[in-house]
Symmetry: C2
Subunit: 471 residues, 2 copies
């Protein structure tokens, strides 16, 4: 029996039967990333139901030197939870650790196990009159452990930050099977390096997160959603600055190019343009209030009217009701889907300093379109975070294998522009497997060197998600 | 020539003369901690004026295997910046790196070099209409590098968090002389483990911080300061919850026991009791607003009146003017000084979960006074952060060598109580040298193990502030 088979067999003796899945049909959907780009293989999924079980299993894996790939909802964008194709690793699924251990409106904290689905936490917080403010498209599937391990972002980062800002503590099983308990609820603790912070965004390479303490904020009493037309990304940023100087209610601010809007209207049934006229760029604004007496619609309306008067925006419309608000958001959320319907698309999740982003969006698109004639490049998304999804679409005349043939070269070109602008080639999606080569190529070297040293120090056997994140 | 002499000589060839201080009279005040408890020795202070110079000097030190002790304002509470007494290490002073490189009200960020004094940053931010909200007693001497390296707290943590929440990026020279540049101003960057977060609170053991990007907030337009009498720490916390449910203006909330107030009135000239009657416990509340039209005095007055009516507090008084506000704060800030004037005092900077703190304060004091007859124990400070300074005073009949003879045993007793309550033996002061033994004794072991591994990985030669923080 080889090491993997021995580990599966020993796990079968120590853990309950439900924790061990070896049926290939049950394994199959979890062995590839959800976009179907990276296909791995594994002989078993191990799904413990308690931190103690995870610790025991990690100790066994260390004994047998069998690598583990932690997995939550398998919704990652960088194939960070996909096992290698040679079957040498086991999937460590956190899906059965799905309890919300405590939730307290008074302390404004929830402690959720790694396998809790984000939407479930949203609902639980809502029931206590509170709110967990991070959200993103995959909220019905993604899990707290995965969100923490990837330092996920989403559409409300502007006001509340990424997961790193919302995590109050982390419980994790380290690569030697010891348990790090950061759930004490201490607001101040200066006993050395923050292991919590080290585990956030570590993509499971330093241990597996088993539970997380999360900050809650008061629930929303009302939201106002508006759509505005602007003539450039700089005007969009001007609008954000204008609003931020006058209210702290803005929590969503998404940039949409005209081109992306057209594709959504073309491919996504039931969508229609929020504004009557044409605008080169668009902005989706969401403002919220926790105060039921605050007329947030009136406030946003008044501010947008003032911005219009000052010539910052060309036009704007406020969603008249929740249905219209959802329709505005649907346009934003459907951009990637519409692009895929149109043809081949290369996605890049990049950031530069916020103030530099308007120029970057425009200039990088021009440079890419000049260097690769026929392609269409544009950026959309979280302008206020300095983070856009910079997509390059194959033109109408592209070959069927455009993605395979030209993708890597275009990505290198885009990444070089990002690095030249002092930016990051991974703003919110992580490195996983897909960006490992570019991270190795572009460094920075001091950071890569330090990452390798830390990885080796905490996981000397290399059993925690090898081949991910650390070049 | 030994290695230290060789390093000093080589540094003399590479750095400008001002960067090398070897006169023992100039060295002496920096070789002991400011409270004069720990005396070290060094043959030179090296004070580079640029990041490049720091990097060059660290590379030289690594070549010669000479340990370095980074130092800012030398105001630390745990002797973390005090060199060992055998003269084997050199002091690396950051005081000449004292430029504010950039400050932008629009971006709400300042980039300050490590040697910038906190009060200087306060002033610079104020001039741009902004504010750097962290503050503490030593603001006229402590430096940005030291504050970051110790993850300092202070009196405004309730609203703005510790340094960890206020640092947007760190530039540091790592132990091999390479430069980590985290000053890019990216709001989102998921390229692996956060070295910035690892360096915050690392007390110079993983490298020396050379510059920090700091978040600014809008400047205060007005503040209201009040003093309230309550019957217990639980009532004090009730008051905080009451206020927080009704306003987000509260940013200071300090608990003061009657005993501490009496000592201040006795020993500190010019102080007088804010309230006429007697109360067992007191609270100093500070509320602020950035909105010049907001009558913050009226708001706090109204809320305290409501709290009085509900029986949460026994009495309260609002400072009538800035002079009275300063007088209230002076009482709080003078507690340690008054205690020292009264006699020998043992200080403990501890935290437990906020909700557990009222009971901890009362019960821990009772237990200590029972176990060590004659002593007086009490806790004061940042109740809303779950962080108090738990002081044990020698009684009137204590021997002159009480501190030396009984101090360590009492501290172990207190620390055991803290750990039993799930708390931290270092809430905001760090570990340094002074708490190293207790940290080693009380762990937690998984954390201590991880700290050692990380330290060894990033500083294999052990040249960055050895003998501090890592047990």
């Amino acid at each position: 029996m080889d090491a993997v088979a021995e580990l599966i067999s020993e796990a079968g003796q120590r853990l309950e039967p439900k924790a061990i899945i070896t049926d290939p049909r049950e394994i199959e959907p979890w062995a590839a990333d959800w976009r179907g780009r990276v296909h791995g293989a594994t002989r078993a999924i191990i799904a413990p139901s308690s931190t103690q079980e995870v610790a025991e299993f990690v100790r066994l894996a260390a004994e047998h030197r069998v690598p583990l790939v932690p997995q939550g909802g398998n919704t990652g964008m960088a194939a960070g939870a996909t096992p290698p194709p040679d079957g040498s690793a086991l999937l460590l699924s956190m899906r059965r650790m799905n309890r919300i251990r405590t939730i307290s409106a008074e302390n404004r904290v929830a402690i959720a196990e790694a396998g809790v689905v984000l939407a479930t936490l949203h609902d639980a917080a809502h029931e206590t009159g509170m709110r967990f403010p991070l959200t993103l498209g995959s909220r019905g599937s993604c899990t707290i452990g995965g969100l923490t391990s990837t330092n996920a972002g989403g559409t409300q980062v502007l006001k509340f930050g990424t997961m790193r800002s919302l995590v109050a503590g982390v419980e994790a099983v380290l690569p030697d099977g010891s348990i790090h308990d950061g759930l004490s609820g201490l607001k101040k603790d200066n006993r050395g390096y923050s292991l919590d912070q080290l585990l956030i965004g570590a993509e499971g390479t330093l241990g597996v997160i088993t539970a997380v303490a999360l900050r809650l904020v008061p629930d929303i009493a009302a939201r106002a959603v508006a759509w505005a037309g602007v003539e450039s990304p700089q005007r969009a940023l001007d609008l954000l600055r204008f609003l931020e100087a006058r209210t702290n209610a803005v929590e969503g601010f998404e940039l949409v190019p005209e081109d992306s809007l057209r594709l959504v209207l073309k491919h996504i049934p039931g969508t229609r343009s929020p504004l009557a006229g044409e605008h080169r760029w668009h902005v989706l604004v969401e403002a919220t209030t926790a105060d039921a007496e605050h007329d947030i619609d009136a406030e946003l309306q008044r501010l947008l009217a003032a911005a219009l008067e000052q010539g910052i925006i060309g036009d704007a419309v406020l969603a008249a009701n929740e249905g219209q608000a959802e329709a505005f958001w649907k346009i934003r959320d459907a951009i990637s889907e519409a692009e895929r319907a149109e043809g081949q698309t290369l996605a890049h999740d990049v950031s530069v300093a916020v103030a530099d982003m308007p120029r970057f969006i425009v200039e990088a698109a021009e440079q890419v379109e000049r260097a690769f004639p026929g392609v269409i490049a544009s950026g959309f998304g979280h302008l206020g975070d300095g983070n856009i999804h910079f997509h390059v679409r194959a033109g109408a005349h592209a070959a069927a294998d455009w993605y395979e043939r030209e993708g890597a070269e275009i990505t290198r070109f885009v990444d070089d522009l990002v690095v030249a602008a002092g930016g990051s080639i991974s703003a919110e999606h992580g490195i996983g497997q897909l960006k490992l080569g570019e991270f190795a190529r572009l460094g920075p070297p001091a950071r890569v060197h330090a990452l390798r040293a830390i990885k080796h120090a905490l996981d000397p056997l290399g059993i925690m998600n090898p081949g991910k994140l650390v070049p």
